[in-house]
């Protein structure tokens, strides 16, 4: 709420002003009855009714101000929170992204935040008002007649107990309903994505049954929470009316004794009625507020996640070495995993060398290269770039040295030029075209009449998989990185293009150190050094011919692909 303190105070303040003016209304009415009617004084009545109108006008002005500042504060607040939430999410490292999942983060930033915003807005506008009217009415009652007002002093705590008791009882139940609803949603989604499989196994009847179970569980939970929450209105209604009866009874005795007038009893009665109206409003509000609080908690949970990789702001002393990347007995264990994904990785790569990394599914190829950019931290051992531990670099400096082409070719909505500039903010069109040429994507560019201004849709939907891959390679090349990492980035390219791509990368004038991750032996056979991974451990390291001789795993992979058994 910081930065909107002024608004957050002004808004309830005007709301309270409005409420206090409203509290004068019964007094005015009482005087109409006791003085105006009793004395048959028409002028007095007119005058008092004008006061009523004046009170209404002042009340309107106050609320308008209150609403304006409430809107300003609530929106301003949520804008700020969204900004910090977005920045916070951007600061998270891969480990947190994995545990939390991006889809959760997206819902928390969008729908949860909207709920929080309307919750704050309503709280500022109404939540303060209701308790104020309730207590204000009680105080006004005391000014009229102390002994009658004692009824208020008893009724209000009882009402409070009912309202808050029901609220406390239903909040956890609402959560349960939400969980059941999520399940219904999950099954529906699953049945759409898996329609073919479900039908292939003729499993429709089971799915129906499961869905029925889920909906009836939801139905049961909804009715259960409903039973409790619907007590609120009838109970408050009955209590208030009983209180009114007692109040008037008290009033009658006091009038009989000459301590009170009829008009004053009416005023007391009106105060009690006002309390009822406010409580009903409050009850309706509580649902929105509890929802907002639940959403707020979910947002808060994201804020509480600390990025596991913290930045080092001091630039490390450069070390004189011709080793570009070195792994020293590095191990990696993912959060929540029981076993390590990388075991004792130990090798070094000289500047300008080309390294091939090969291995089966889940053998740890991507994990290994993710350590170089410090997307994850090694749980034991160390990784060095240019002779310095990656943990000693400011991450931005480290990552500026490295051009990564990830497995999944992701482009962003915007022109080709904008996408390319991700690699280098200040790149000229010539540089961009040069990089695109190296990445073998010039023909794609030339096929688009708009050239670099061709607008890529969200997710790159208007490009084929192979085209996307080549553009992501070009994007990485624009960085002129010292280390270029291609993580299975040529999988959608045919062999010929793949080979041309590797040749043009080998011909780059700035001679980057290149890591090529691949499942194809053909893509890495020419590398200076090939690292063979199996189940997270290095089982062979060396040049193609050596490995064919010495490494069983490599030979098996090679044989499965060569011997005339390639791909079409």
């Amino acid at each position: 709420m910081k930065g909107y303190i002024k608004e957050s105070i002004i808004s309830p303040f005007f709301k309270l002003l409005e409420a206090s003016f409203e509290l004068f209304v019964p007094l005015v009415v009482a005087s109409i009855i006791d003085i105006g009617i009793a004395n048959k004084d028409k002028d007095f009545v007119v005058q008092r009714c004008l006061i009523l109108v004046a009170l209404a006008v002042i009340g309107l002005c106050c609320t308008l101000l209150a609403q304006y500042y409430a809107a300003k504060a609530a929106v301003g607040f949520s804008t700020k929170v969204k900004h910090s939430l977005f920045s916070h999410i951007q600061s998270l490292s891969y480990t947190e992204i994995d545990t939390l999942g991006t889809s959760t983060m997206i819902t928390r930033m969008t729908s949860d935040m909207n709920q929080v915003q309307s919750g704050v807005n309503l709280t500022l506008r109404l939540f303060m008002r209701s308790p104020f009217i309730v207590f204000g009415a009680m105080i006004m009652a005391f000014t009229i007649d102390v002994s009658s007002a004692l009824v208020f002093a008893v009724a209000i705590p009882v009402l409070g107990l009912v309202v808050f008791g029901i609220m406390c009882a239903t909040i956890p139940l609402h959560k349960r309903v939400q969980a059941k609803l999520d399940r219904v949603l999950g099954i529906t989604r699953e049945n759409l994505t898996g329609a073919r499989v479900i039908r292939a196994f003729a499993n429709e009847e089971n799915e129906r049954q499961e869905f029925r179970n889920a909906t009836s569980e939801l139905n049961f939970a909804q009715k259960f929470v409903g039973k409790i929450s619907v007590i609120m209105n009838p109970a408050t209604y009955a209590i208030v009316n009983i209180a009114i009866s007692i109040l008037i009874w008290q009033g009658a005795i006091r009038v009989d004794m000459g301590d009170l007038t009829q008009g004053q009893v009416i005023a007391l009665y009106n105060y009690m009625s006002q309390i009822l109206v406010e409580l009903i409003k409050l009850a309706n509000l509580i649902v929105t507020i509890t929802k907002a609080v639940a959403c707020g908690n979910r947002v808060q949970a994201v804020f509480e996640i600390e990025p596991s990789i913290t930045d080092n702001s001091t630039i490390p002393e450069p070390v004189k070495t011709d080793i570009s990347v070195e792994f020293r007995h590095a191990y990696l264990r993912y959060a929540g995993a029981s076993e390590t994904s990388l075991d004792d990785i130990d090798f070094s790569v000289k500047r300008g060398e080309v390294v091939g990394i090969i291995g089966g599914t889940g053998s740890g190829k991507t994990s290994l290269i993710n350590l170089i950019s410090r997307f994850y931290d090694a749980c034991d051992g160390e990784v060095l770039v240019d002779g310095v531990n990656v943990k000693s670099y400011p991450t931005e400096l480290l990552r500026s040295k490295i051009g990564v082409v990830p497995q999944r070719a992701v482009l962003f909505s915007g022109s080709i030029r904008e996408n390319m500039k991700w690699g280098n903010e200040g790149a000229t069109d010539e540089e961009i075209i040069e990089a695109i040429t190296t990445a073998q994507a010039l023909d794609v560019l030339e096929s688009k009449p708009q050239g670099l201004d061709f607008v890529i849709e969200q997710g790159g939907k208007n490009l084929s998989g192979g085209q996307r891959q080549r553009f992501t390679i070009a994007r990485a090349l624009l960085k002129r990185p010292e280390i270029l990492i291609l993580d299975d980035s040529a999988s959608a390219l045919d062999y010929a293009t793949d080979a041309r791509l590797r040749a043009s990368i080998a011909g780059l004038d700035y001679k980057p150190t290149v890591f090529i991750v691949s499942q194809r032996t053909a893509s890495i056979a020419n590398a200076d050094k090939i690292v063979v991974l199996d189940d997270g451990a290095i089982v062979g390291i060396g040049a193609h011919e050596e490995l064919l001789d010495s490494c069983l795993v490599y030979r098996e992979i090679y044989n499965s692909q060569f011997k005339g058994e390639g791909e079409i």
């Binding site: 109409i32 009855i33 009545v45 009523l52 109108v53 006008v57 609403q67 409430a70 809107a71 929106v75 301003g76 804008t79 977005f86 992204i97 997206i106 969008t110 915003q117 506008r125 609803l181 219904v184 949603l185 049945n191 994505t193 329609a195 073919r196 039908r199 292939a200 196994f201 003729a202 009836s216 939801l218 209604y237 208030v240 009316n241 009866s245 007692i246 009874w249 009658a252 005795i253 009038v255 009989d256 009829q262 008009g263 009625s273 029981s338 089966g360 599914t361 990552r399 990564v404 962003f412 909505s413 991700w422 062999y495 080979a499 499942q519 053909a522 056979a525 098996e556 692909q561 079409i568």
Partner: protein, 590 residues
């Protein structure tokens, strides 16, 4: 305001769901009427009690006051009870209708042709079944009860007012609608602001989707600051238009309250004058206090009614969307004399098959093929050549537009879909893992399988070793977006499903595309064992798989352009030869 046409057919269909709960609904209406009547009666009783206080000290008839007040207390308790029962009934109706509609929509989903599912976004269908149903039921029933109680409250108030004093009744009835005009005026003015707000919000969601969804790439390029900058720009714009929209829409309540306060003042004025003018005969002070409390009570339902109308409209719009789904044409049901396939041999014959997804674009034209028991058919060709379409036709996910497909001499349209589909074991490139344990995921085709059988199937598909290492082994709960499984491991699970039920025919559509070559060789061995004596269709890229096929179908733009064994096709020097050749060009440059 959103214009939604109120279709008569929609309302009729809504009534169909409500009909089941007619007794409850009648009960609810009765209770509502009673509640309203009693609620309106209370101020009158209180007014009478207050009148007994008119003459001040020493004149109050205590026992009369006591009796009246006792009545108020008892009525209040009765109203509370009635309200509580009524709310429970309403909840029951609402939630049950939600359940009924959802179940029916889901049943529908199971029977819809795949064409519908393929051509509609999943998100759209899910939101129909989840949020539209909720809004429909909430809006409809809340709207209905509010409308109903609102109308009788308004009517009741008018009647009671007229009974008390005609002049005052006129003041209240004439002035209150003012608040409606004010509310409508504001709503119209704010519509464009809300439109602007939702447009900007959509823009922001798109950025969030992209930058958070691809956070890993953003980080790899240290692009966080630029992303935040872009986000802030939209965020700032959203702030401006949100403040406007929220502020102007929040004017409705204060202004109507203001109008009501004016009505209140007018009532007090006219009331007081009447009391003074008639010396308390035409209107007593107690009656005046009843009238004043009516004036406040009357405004509330009056204002609500206008809201209810738009709520009802919205509910019907939601209902419309759900019914669109429910009324969608189902797959033609199996004929009553449809044959249940048993002991399948696996002789498949395609006669002159035509097929297209849309009328404009023909995809498969005059395709004929005879496959006999135990043969292995490899389908080869560039992307979009119709390989997957052929599978859709074989499994009868889509019906042919011309010609026929038969299994063991019976047209597949004369066979029950379930038995036809169960005769095929299908593994697709796109995996599907349901939110359930590994064990349940494997047993999907055979829920009665024993643990031993499941483990055996997992062993055959080389999934056992990684399953063993999962936190809870075979009982580990997984789902499609679970990070516990790699794409290749998911594919192995899908293969294990087939290994468990061993159907007589197989369809493997790039079944091993995400599996590394070493594991693949092992799975191929298992497949080879399985394919013995089973007719199998294989879509593949890898030559090793293709070469062993009995028949290779080379497809290009929906047609089979070449057909034969590997050696025959190479000798032909046609399209297949070219495809095969292109591979070695790739190696040549190494």
């Amino acid at each position: 305001m959103k214009k939604s046409k109120l279709k008569l057919s929609t309302i009729k269909q809504v009534l169909k769901y409500v009909k089941r709960y007619t007794p409850l609904l009648i009960l609810s209406i009765l209770f509502a009427t009673a509640t309203v009547a009693l609620t309106l009666y209370i101020p009158i009783v209180i007014g009478q009690a207050i009148d007994l206080l008119a003459n001040g000290a020493g004149t109050v008839d205590r026992s009369a006051v006591w009796n009246l007040l006792l009545r108020v207390g008892i009525i209040a308790v009765i109203i509370g009870l009635l309200q509580w029962i009524m709310s429970n009934i309403n909840n029951k109706i609402t939630y049950n209708i939600v359940r009924d509609v959802r179940n029916e929509a889901f049943d529908k989903l199971q029977g819809l042709p795949l064409k519908y599912i393929d051509s509609n976004s999943y998100g759209g269908i899910v939101s129909r079944i989840v949020s539209d149903v909720d809004q429909f039921a909430d809006g409809l029933l809340m709207g209905f009860t509010q409308l109903f109680t609102g109308v009788i409250t308004v009517l009741g108030t008018i009647i009671f007012l007229i009974l008390i004093n005609f002049k005052i009744a006129l003041v209240v009835v004439l002035l209150t609608p003012l608040s409606l005009f004010v509310a409508n005026f504001i709503a119209k003015k704010t519509y464009s602001m809300f439109h602007e707000q939702s447009k900007t919000r959509a823009e922001q969601t798109a950025i969030i989707d992209e930058m958070v969804g691809n956070l890993k790439v953003v980080k790899a390029f240290s692009h966080e600051d630029e992303a935040i900058e872009e986000f802030d720009e939209v965020n700032g714009r959203l702030q401006k238009c949100s403040v406007k929209a929220i502020f102007f829409s929040s004017l409705v309540n204060p202004t109507t309250r203001f109008v009501n306060a004016l009505v209140y003042a007018a009532t007090a004025l006219v009331g007081a004058f009447t009391v003074i003018g008639s010396g308390g005969l035409a209107l007593s002070v107690g009656a005046l206090s009843s009238v004043l409390s009516y004036a406040t009570q009357y405004a509330k339902p009056f204002n609500e009614i206008s809201g209810v109308v738009s709520e009802l409209q919205n509910a019907l719009a939601c209902a419309d969307r759900i019914f669109e789904l429910i009324n969608e044409k189902s797959e033609e049901p199996d004929a009553s004399d449809a044959i249940c396939l048993t002991d399948v041999n696996g002789n498949i014959s395609l006669q002159d098959v035509f097929f297209s997804y849309t009328d404009e674009q023909r995809l498969i034209e005059s395709l004929s093929l005879d496959v006999s028991h135990g043969q292995r058919i490899a389908i080869v060709g560039p992307t979009g050549c119709g390989k997957t379409t052929l599978i859709n036709l074989l499994m009868r996910f889509y019906d042919v537009k011309g010609g026929s497909i038969s299994v063991d001499g019976t047209d597949i349209r004369d066979i029950t879909r379930a038995s036809l589909r169960e005769s095929y074991g299908m593994v697709l490139q796109e995996t599907w893992i349901r939110h359930a344990s590994i064990k349940d995921n494997i047993a999907i085709g055979n829920p009665n399988a024993s643990d031993e059988e499941i483990i055996q199937a997992a062993r055959l598909s080389h999934a056992h070793s990684f399953i063993k290492r999962l936190p809870n082994g075979y009982d580990t709960i997984v789902s499609e977006d679970s990070s516990l499984l790699s794409q290749g491991q998911k594919q192995l699970l899908c293969i294990a499903r087939i290994m468990l039920c061993l159907p007589p025919m197989l369809i493997l559509d790039e079944a091993t595309s995400s599996i590394d070559t070493r594991t693949e060789i092992k799975i191929q061995e298992a497949f080879a064992l399985m394919m013995k004596n089973r007719t199998s269709f294989i879509v593949a890229h890898r030559l090793s798989t293709i070469r062993e096929a009995d028949i290779i179908l080379v497809m290009k733009s929906g047609k089979i352009i070449e057909q034969g064994s590997h050696d025959e096709l190479l000798a032909k020097k046609g399209f297949y030869y070219e495809l095969y050749h292109s591979q070695f060009e790739g190696y040549g440059e190494n």
